[in-house]
């Protein structure tokens, strides 16, 4: 009977998003609109990184170490003389790729496991115990533990964070499935002789998409924070790829003399997470009228 914040989203009163509706969300929620614009800018920044006045983010130049921000080095240089501005711009690629991949993978696996546990009693008994166990391990520690087993790579970071997020999606989808199973329209479909798979595909699955979309947005945001946190303590993205967490980790011992190495990636990370959270809040408000009133 535990009410986790994510469980609040398990309400069955979600609508299926329609194309017109998505347009509506951004018109009626100016903050979600602001988030969407911010995120679009970040995505454009990540895609067009080489054309934004950047130099090679890995180019060493010991002769110009630790320069303060200036007109030639907008965000200054780090202890190896690398241009922090270029590193921060390229770092957006890591954060976005990891945020989006973790959201997609954990949504896919979570939906599959959620449908399975919602319909098969035996799978429910076994899988949900495993999910409860995984959920009781703090997500950062779970990711740390998995990263300690493998070598640092972006794929492994994505895998480690996904494992930590899957139980939450599974639980959400399972909750929706259990409610839907009792709904008259599902009973009607069964009564009229619809097979199991068409019911699953046409009636159950579409109804899980809206809550998973909302949850997935928040997962993307939290995955970006987790990646940065892992990289920050040295258990995340390998140091040869500039990520916001890596840049901050390198600035850690120098922050009293070179504050800018930490400040700029930190601001970018916060803005990126903020933009996704704003979109998530807007989606939740629009897709779940019952919760919208409350949150």
């Amino acid at each position: 009977m535990t009410i986790a914040p994510t469980d609040l989203a398990a309400a069955p009163s979600f609508d299926v998003p329609r194309r017109g509706k998505m347009h509506d969300i951004f018109r009626r929620h100016p903050t979600a609109m602001a988030g969407a614009i911010l995120l679009t800018l970040l995505i454009l920044m990540a895609i067009f990184a080489p054309w934004l006045g950047t130099v090679d983010p890995q180019a060493l130049a010991p002769i110009r170490r630790l320069r303060a921000p200036s007109s030639s080095y907008w965000f200054g240089t780090d202890m190896l003389g690398r241009d922090v501005y270029s590193r921060v711009i390229y770092g957006s690629r890591v954060s976005l790729i990891i945020g989006i991949s973790v959201a997609l993978f954990s949504a896919a696996v979570g939906i599959a496991l959620g449908l399975l546990t919602g319909f098969v009693r035996l799978a429910d008994a076994i899988l949900m115990r495993i999910m409860d166990g995984l959920m009781s391990i703090p997500s950062v520690l779970l990711a740390i533990a998995l990263m300690a087993l493998t070598r640092a790579s972006m794929g492994n970071v994505i895998f480690a964070i996904t494992v930590a997020e899957v139980p939450r999606v599974t639980r959400l989808v399972r909750g929706v499935v259990l409610t839907l199973r009792e709904q008259p329209f599902v009973e009607a479909a069964i009564a009229s002789g619809t097979g199991f798979l068409p019911i699953l595909w046409r009636h159950i699955l579409p109804n899980t998409l809206a809550p998973v979309l909302v949850q997935g947005t928040f997962i993307a945001a939290s995955a970006m924070i987790t990646e940065a946190a892992l990289s920050f303590i040295g258990a995340g993205t390998p140091p040869n790829i500039p990520s916001w967490g890596n840049i901050m980790a390198e600035g850690r011992s120098l922050f009293q003399v070179a504050y800018y190495i930490i400040l700029f990636p930190g601001i970018c990370l916060s803005l990126a997470v903020l933009s996704i959270n704003l979109i998530g809040d807007g989606l939740r408000d629009a897709l779940d009228p019952r919760l919208a009133r409350r949150m």
Binding site: P5, R129, G133, S136, V140, L141, A145, I233
Partner: protein, 313 residues
């Protein structure tokens, strides 16, 4: 009710079982042979084989797991590979700063977050409400370690009011202890405060639309009496839940906060262990934090029955 409590307590066993299997597999699957590490550079193959036998590493998985759980139930978390000290001893040495940090965080966040949520719900739709909600979104979006550095730049380096890093035990004077705890507590607490404020607001909004609140207002009670005496009391269950779960959630933040502020707690212990690949420590800390999470959840669930006599199982 007693049978519910017993059933609820029994339900924690499979959960901890899954955690134990996961954590044990971590050591079992970890790269590198502990026997080789312990034996040292000059060991012969015979030495290594002897150590393997002594540690039971030549036994099959389930025997090793059984022995490990048996030791665990006797309070033995294994030996740290790097320092050669029992993990239990290391955790005991490091627990004080972490507990102090958690308590300080609760002390600075709860008295702020609940009133914020109550006021936001009372003034729903006004600019006050919006400011609180902006605070909540910001709290969810600014990662702890980013906030930590912003606070250090401002209050320690810029204004020179507080120490940059470090930890002083409360036994060595309250002033020094408190000045070292202010920034870490705010860092760790922002996310938590945002969460509590948001849930408080949501829960209060629900209650404020109830008939008995209108009755209380109609009979001339002051706003204060209505809000605190009638509304907050009835909105308490979700708030208590989120406070409980939040305490468990703080753990993830502890790892990062202790790293930034150089606090010698459990978080630092585990970060150092990762860099040295000292798996027994990582195992021990995960087990301890998970057990703590499970216990807090258990306490929250049982407290439902005490808070709200209508809830029957």
């Amino acid at each position: 009710m007693l049978s519910y409590i017993v059933r609820r307590m029994l339900a924690t066993i499979p959960v901890m079982g899954v955690v134990a299997i996961f954590v044990f597999s971590l050591l079992y699957l970890s790269p590198g042979d502990p026997a080789v590490i312990i034996a040292g550079d000059t060991a012969t193959l015979d030495d290594i084989a002897r150590i393997r036998q002594k540690l039971g590493l030549d036994q099959p998985f389930y025997v090793q797991f059984g022995t490990w759980v048996w030791n665990l139930l006797h309070g033995d978390l294994g030996i740290s590979i790097f320092t050669n000290l029992p993990v239990m001893t290391l955790i005991k040495q490091r627990i004080e700063p972490t507990v102090a940090l958690t308590i300080c965080t609760l002390l600075v966040t709860i008295p702020v977050a609940i009133p914020l949520g109550v006021i936001a719900a009372w003034k729903a739709g006004t600019w006050i409400d919006r400011v609180v909600m902006v605070f909540a979104v910001a709290g969810f979006s600014i990662p702890g370690f980013v906030l930590a550095y912003i606070l250090i730049f401002t209050f320690s380096i810029g204004l020179d009011l507080l120490p940059v890093q470090g930890y002083t035990s409360i036994k060595d004077g309250f002033g020094a202890f408190a000045s070292h705890m202010v920034l870490p507590s705010i860092t760790l607490g922002l996310f938590y405060a945002a969460l509590v404020a948001r849930i408080t607001r949501a829960s209060m909004l629900d209650v404020l639309s109830q008939d008995y609140v209108r009755t209380a207002q109609a009979k001339g009670l002051s706003n204060r009496e209505v809000l605190i005496g009638h509304a907050l009391k009835n909105a308490a269950v979700p708030i208590a839940t989120i406070i409980g779960i939040g305490v468990a959630l703080l753990i993830s933040g502890v790892v990062i906060t202790e790293t930034v502020f150089a606090i010698p707690g459990i978080g630092r212990l585990v970060v150092d262990a990762i860099l040295r690949r000292d798996y027994p420590i990582i195992q021990g800390v995960i087990l301890m934090f998970s057990a703590w999470y499970v216990l807090v959840n258990l306490a929250v669930d049982i407290s439902y029955t005490l808070f709200d006599p209508r809830i029957r199982y």
